[in-house]
């Protein structure tokens, strides 16, 4: 219990630190946002007035605390460009990003587990080596490049799937699924090569364990023993790797949204960057970074609860 509280305190601390870093990055860096927004022809008076309007004349710390207070109560401020509430801007776009990350994680696991296991079991054979080499290559491929070629193949050549765009689930579940297949696949392939390399190492370790030998001795085949006893032993540490990969997946999703013109957080974020709409940028980046920290925290806690060996020490 005490350990959980310490972890919770670290988690809260890192949330706070991350928010401070984000706010500082957009507010402290040189570059006067008021003059950027008004263009090069603006008079000094107009710039000064804009600064007051945006509240930029007040001390940094005051503005930070105000912003943070708003965020905690669900108010991310108002856009510098169109004056709309940032919360209202972000909310409808969460859905797309959520699907991408969720299905990207599931897809990469579904790919990585069999591929990594195959590479481990067949590591002394040519086919196993080829699979390992392919995952090494997969590591070097940008997800958005994979996405572009999926478009070329399945949208341009075969015309089986749409090249981009999004249809919400409640409008048409079938269209929704069709539009998500390619982006999710692009994300999954690249993620899977990272995870499959981890799975391969972990499975090789399992193949050398005594409990694996016991499982074989009571009549399991290699694959059966791995499925029944290897997977559950790997899963605990695999969870940590997958959790750490969520950050990479989120970033990958931002770029993938761009490739497939998906209306998620990433594309809204990039629009805000080109408009120099700092309040929107801050808000979306904060949501993304906090999501990463939250997932890492949850993974950490789950790790403690799942591993029966650790559970003993924790109580």
């Amino acid at each position: 219990m005490k350990r959980l509280l310490i972890r919770l305190a670290w988690f809260a601390g890192s949330l706070l630190l991350a928010s401070l870093l984000i706010f500082a990055a957009t507010n402290w860096l040189p570059g006067d946002i008021a003059s950027v927004l008004l263009g090069t022809n603006a008079t000094p008076e107009a710039v000064a007035a804009k600064r007051v309007e945006l509240g930029l004349d007040r001390p940094f710390l005051v503005r930070y605390l105000e912003w943070l207070g708003g965020v905690v109560s669900g108010d991310f401020g108002t856009s510098m460009i169109n004056g709309r509430s940032v919360t209202a801007t972000i909310a409808p776009r969460l859905e797309v990003s959520l699907w991408l990350v969720l299905f990207g994680t599931l897809g990469s696991l579904l790919l990585a587990l069999p591929v990594g296991t195959f590479a481990a079991v067949r590591r002394r054979h040519l086919d196993g080596f080829v699979v390992s080499a392919l995952s090494q290559i997969g590591l070097a491929v940008p997800a958005f490049w994979a996405g572009i070629w999926l478009v070329v193949l399945f949208a341009v050549r075969l015309q089986w799937l749409p090249a981009g765009g999004y249809v919400p689930y409640w409008e048409s579940p079938a269209q929704w699924a069709l539009h998500l297949i390619l982006p999710v696949t692009a994300l999954s392939i690249v993620q899977a090569s990272v995870i499959s390399r981890y799975v391969r190492t972990a499975v090789i370790d399992v193949l050398h364990t005594d409990y694996f030998r016991t499982a074989r001795a009571i009549g399991w085949g290699k694959v059966g023993a791995l499925w029944r006893h290897g997977l559950r032993n790997i899963s605990i540490s695999l969870l940590t790797v997958v959790g750490l990969q969520v950050a990479t997946l989120l970033v990958g999703a931002i770029i993938i949204e761009q490739v497939f013109a998906l209306p998620g957080l990433g594309s809204r974020l990039l629009l805000a960057v080109t408009q120099r709409d700092l309040v929107v940028v801050q808000g979306i980046v904060l949501v993304l970074v906090w999501a990463v920290l939250l997932i890492n925290f949850l993974v950490d806690v789950a790790y403690q609860m799942l591993d029966p060996r650790l559970k003993r020490e924790a109580t």
């Binding site: 002394r124 364990t209 005594d210 030998r213 016991t214 001795a217 009571i218 009549g219 032993n233 029966p308």
Partner: protein
């Protein structure tokens, strides 16, 4: 004869781990194999079970109930393992799956070979047979929640649950302290009655407790063979003499 090993050799790359080893075990006989680590005794037992790593090259013949095991298809081997013959390993902490309750692991051994899918009652009965007084709690425990002796008893229960004809014990008491070791030997002595057993150990004293006959291995060869008391009384080979001298204190 239950098990007939004839000119068995096992080679890993350039090293010959087992060199033309031959022996036989009768229907209800217990044979001890004794030797230092690296003598090839464990490799021999794994060769019989078909659990050597795929880098191993096995030649010669292993006949179990008249069936040739060398070159046997994996699918057929799987039906024998844990069913017609079974194994007990040295370190029960690592030999049991640390993430799975012990009762479930035993039930799994039953379910793999029997459609009755390991009824809970059977698991607890088996645990009782190996001298566990609170089988319900032990079945519900993870390996790390049990004592070394309880773990090894669970391991033995797993091995005999399908009433195998042959049990291969690979250093079953080495990881345990003296008192527990004695108890486990009693349990083994009990459960190995009426079946064939291969008992592998580096400890002459332990082998003497359970095996009337012994073979001595050194560097992949059998250097001596015979009734255990005769071997101890008059070791014919230098190496055996040294083993006997080393064990003298306990005998």
């Amino acid at each position: 004869m239950k098990l007939v090993v004839d000119e068995l050799s096992v080679r890993f790359g350039d090293t010959l781990a087992v060199d033309k080893v031959s022996f036989a075990v009768g229907e209800t006989e217990r044979l001890g194999i004794i030797g230092a680590s690296g003598s090839g005794k464990s490799v021999t037992s794994l060769a019989i079970a078909g659990l050597l790593s795929e880098t191993a090259r096995v030649s010669g013949s292993i006949k179990f109930d008249g069936q040739e095991l060398v070159g046997l298809r994996e699918r057929d081997y799987r039906r024998l393992r844990g069913n017609r013959f079974s194994m007990i390993f040295q370190e029960p902490m690592t030999a049991l799956d640390p993430t799975m309750r012990v009762g479930l692991q035993i039930a799994e051994a039953i379910a793999l070979h029997d459609r009755r899918t390991g009824k809970r009652l059977t698991v607890e009965e088996e645990l009782q047979r190996v001298g566990i007084t609170d089988p319900g709690r032990v079945a519900d425990s993870f390996p790390h929640q049990l004592s070394g002796g309880q773990r090894q008893r669970a391991m033995i229960a797993m091995a005999i649950v399908n009433k195998p004809d042959l049990v291969i014990c690979d250093e079953p008491t080495t990881a345990l302290d003296m008192v527990v070791q004695r108890n486990i030997l009693h349990v083994l002595d009990d459960v190995l009655t009426d079946r064939a057993a291969l008992f592998i150990s580096h400890d002459l004293g332990v082998v003497r407790e359970v095996c009337p006959r012994v073979i001595v291995m050194q560097e992949g060869h059998i250097v001596e063979e015979g009734p255990i008391d005769a071997v101890i009384a008059a070791p014919a080979h230098d190496y055996t003499a040294r083993l006997v001298a080393a064990a003298r204190g306990e005998l």
